[in-house]
Subunit: 354 residues, 2 copies
C-alpha cells in the first residue's frame, strides 16, 4: 500500500530477489507505479484491496494505513509488519507509553484533550514544550511549540482538531535513528546509528557513522530489539532518538523503511529495502554492516544538475520520478568516501550545487 519513493526503492531492491510487486495508491503515475504495476485507487477501495489478497505478502510504505484496510487484508493474506504495530505507531500517546514501558528513555509527555488538560500539562512540563496531534503528523506537520502565554491560542486550535500530546522540549545535541529488521524466524539485525539533521521539520542530511559512542549505540540496539519482539514485528522498523548529555531519548518509531536509511543502498552490505523484503518474504537477513562513512542529502522541491552532481566522486543519484513542487522530497544523493574528511569535502561540493 502506497506507491511513493519508498515503494519504488522496495521494488528496485526486490526484483533481483525474484519478487513481483503490485502497488495500490490513489495518485496515478506515482514513483513506484513507474517501475511496477499500480492500481490507482483509494486505500479504502474494496476492489483494490481484493487484488492485493492475491499477493503472498502485503506491506506498507507509510504508517497511516486505515485500520480496516490492514485488518481486512490480514484476514485473508499475510500482512507485515503486523497491523497491531501500525496501530501503536499511529498514536503518539500509545507509542510513547509503549516505548517507556519497554525501558526506553523518552522526553516527558502528558496527554492533552482540552484547554484544562493543556494548562495542566504545561504546568507540569513547563515551557518551551511541544504540542503534537496524537495522529497523522509527519515532517513537522501537526506540531506547535509553546514558549509563552501568547502561544496558547494556536495550541488550542491544534487541540480543537483532535487529541494531542504535550512533550517537553529537548535541546538535543543531535538526532539519530536506529534502523533494525526482524525476520519471520525472530532473528534481528540492526544498522549502525545514523545521525540526522532536520530543517523546517524535514530531514536534510543523514550521516553514518554517527558521533554517538559505542556503548550508547549497543544499548539503543538492545532496546529496539525488545520493541521488535514486544510487537512480534516482521520487517524494518526505525526509532528516532534525541541525543542529550550522552543519553538517547526515544522520540518516535516508524514501522517501515525510513528516509534516514536511504544511504544503506550504497553504504551497507544489504540495503534497508532489501532487508525489509527478505524479512517479510521469510528469507534470511543480509549484513547490515556499513564499512565506510557515507552521507545522504535529501533533494527537496527541486532537482540539481545531474551532471554536476555526478562529477563529484562517490556520488549516487536517486531521482524519484516525481514532479518537483516546493517542500516535496523529489530525490536524494548518497555520497560515499574512504575517510570522514573526504566525505565532508564531497558533501560540501554537492551541497553547493543544491
Amino acid at each position: 500500500l502506497g506507491a511513493g519513493q519508498l515503494g519504488r526503492m522496495l521494488a528496485l531492491a526486490g526484483y533481483p530477489l525474484g519478487l513481483k510487486f503490485r502497488f495500490v495508491d490513489p495518485t496515478a503515475g506515482s514513483p513506484a507505479g513507474q517501475v511496477a504495476p499500480q492500481t490507482v485507487a483509494d486505500y479504502s477501495d474494496t476492489g483494490a484491496l481484493g487484488e492485493l489478497e492475491a499477493c503472498d505478502v502485503v506491506t506498507f510504505e507509510f504508517e497511516n494505513v486505515p485500520d480496516y484496510a490492514a485488518d481486512r487484508l490480514a484476514a485473508t493474506t499475510q500482512v507485515f509488519p503486523p497491523p497491531a504495530a501500525l496501530r501503536v505507531s499511529q498514536d503518539r500517546l500509545v507509542e510513547k507509553t509503549c516505548l517507556t514501558s519497554l525501558g526506553f528513555a523518552t522526553p516527558r509527555f502528558e496527554p492533552v484533550h482540552d484547554e484544562a488538560s493543556l494548562r495542566q500539562a504545561v504546568d507540569r512540563l513547563g515551557v518551551p514544550s511541544v504540542l503534537k496531534t496524537r495522529r497523522f503528523g509527519y515532517d513537522g506537520k501537526g506540531q506547535c511549540v509553546l514558549k509563552q502565554a501568547s502561544d496558547l491560542p494556536r495550541a488550542l486550535a491544534l487541540v480543537g482538531a483532535g487529541p494531542c500530546i504535550l512533550e517537553e522540549f529537548v535541546a538535543f545535541e543531535r538526532e539519530v535513528s536506529l534502523i533494525a529488521v526482524r525476520a519471520r524466524d525472530g532473528s534481528v539485525a540492526s544498522y549502525p546509528l545514523i545521525e540526522n539533521r532536520h530543517e523546517g521539520g524535514i530531514l536534510r542530511r543523514s550521516t553514518v557513522p554517527s558521533m554517538t559512542g559505542p556503548v550508547v549505540e549497543r544499548e539503543a540496539a538492545a532496546s529496539v530489539q525488545r520493541l521488535l519482539e514486544h510487537l512480534d514485528y516482521v520487517g524494518v522498523l526505525t526509532v528516532e532518538f534525541f541525543e542529550v548529555g550522552g543519553q538517547l531519548l526515544a522520540n518516535e518509531f516508524a514501522p517501515r523503511v525510513h528516509n534516514s536509511g536511504h544511504l544503506t543502498i550504497e553504504a551497507a552490505g544489504t540495503s534497508q529495502f532489501e532487508n525489509h523484503l527478505r524479512a517479510i518474504a521469510g528469507l534470511p537477513l543480509g549484513s547490515t554492516h556499513c564499512p565506510g562513512p557515507a552521507a545522504m542529502l535529501n533533494l527537496i522541491g527541486t532537482l540539481p544538475d545531474k551532471t554536476a552532481v555526478l562529477r563529484v566522486p562517490g556520488t549516487h543519484y536517486h531521482d524519484y520520478g516525481k514532479e518537483v513542487r516546493p517542500g516535496r522530497k523529489v530525490g536524494h544523493i548518497t555520497i560515499t568516501a574512504d575517510t570522514h574528511a573526504e566525505l565532508e569535502t564531497r558533501v560540501a561540493e554537492v551541497s553547493a550545487l543544491l
Copy 2:
C-alpha cells in the same frame, strides 16, 4: 533492443538516475519486460523501431543487431554504442584483424571459406585448432575443435553454413576480461581485470581481483582504451583475453555490458550497468574501483534454494525472472568477502547448493 537479463539490470540501474526505458524484444514477458514497458516485436518491425525513435538514446544488450535496424535508428536518434562498432564485433575475422591492427596480441588466425582454405589454414596453424563461424556465435555455439583428420567432416559442415575463421588452440592458464567504459566526452574508465571460468562454453564463475599481475593489467587497460578510441565508442565494452605465459591474448570483444561484469553491482563503486547508462546518457562516469574480493556464480538451467543461498554471508541473489530450461542462464549469485580465504569458503558453501 533486447529485453533479456542485461536489459533488466540496465533498467534497474537506470531508474535511480531518473531514466525511463522502453524495450523491444520478440519474446513476451522477457526479463526486462517485467520491469519496464516492452514492445513485443521482431527487431525488423518498422513500427517497433519507430517507437524507439522517440527515445533520446537507443542501445543494445546484444551484438547481433540487424544492420538495417541499427542504421535506421542512427539516422533519426542517438545510437550508442555506434553501429560501426557493432559491425566490427559481429564478424570474428574483422574483429581479430581490428584487434591486431591496434597492437593487441591475439591467437594466430586464418580465414576459412571452403575446403581448400580450411586445409591451408590447418597446415599453417596445426592442430589442435578451433574453427568458428565468423558470425552469430555465442556461448560456445558455432565452434568446432580440430584435433585430428577425423574432425574434418564436422569442420566442413560448419564451413558449409557460412564463412569461418580458424584460430590456433591456446592452452591458456586462465581467462580474464577487461570491462571498460567510454563517455560521450571521451573520458575512459576501466574495471579491474576479472578472472573467468567457463564450462561447456558457458561462463560459470567470475572473480575479482584476477591473479594477473598489475603491469599486464595496465597494458590491457591501455590497449582497450585504444580500441575504444579507434571505434569512437560510447558505452561499456568488454574484451575477453586468454592469459598464457604471462601474456594476454585478446580472444574477442563484446560491445556491451558483460556477464563477467555482473559482480560490479556489488563489488564496484559504480556497476557496469550504471556506467553504461551514464556514458550513453552523456553523464560523467562513476568509480570503477573494486575495494574487496568478490565472485559471481552463474545459475544455469535451474534456481537453487534462495533461503539456503542467502543464509551464506555476503551473498546477493539475482533472479532474472526467466522460466528455467536446461543450459539457460536464469540468474546469478554475487558473493563478497573481506579476504580471499573468506571468499573461497563462501563460494564453496554456495557451490554446494547449486
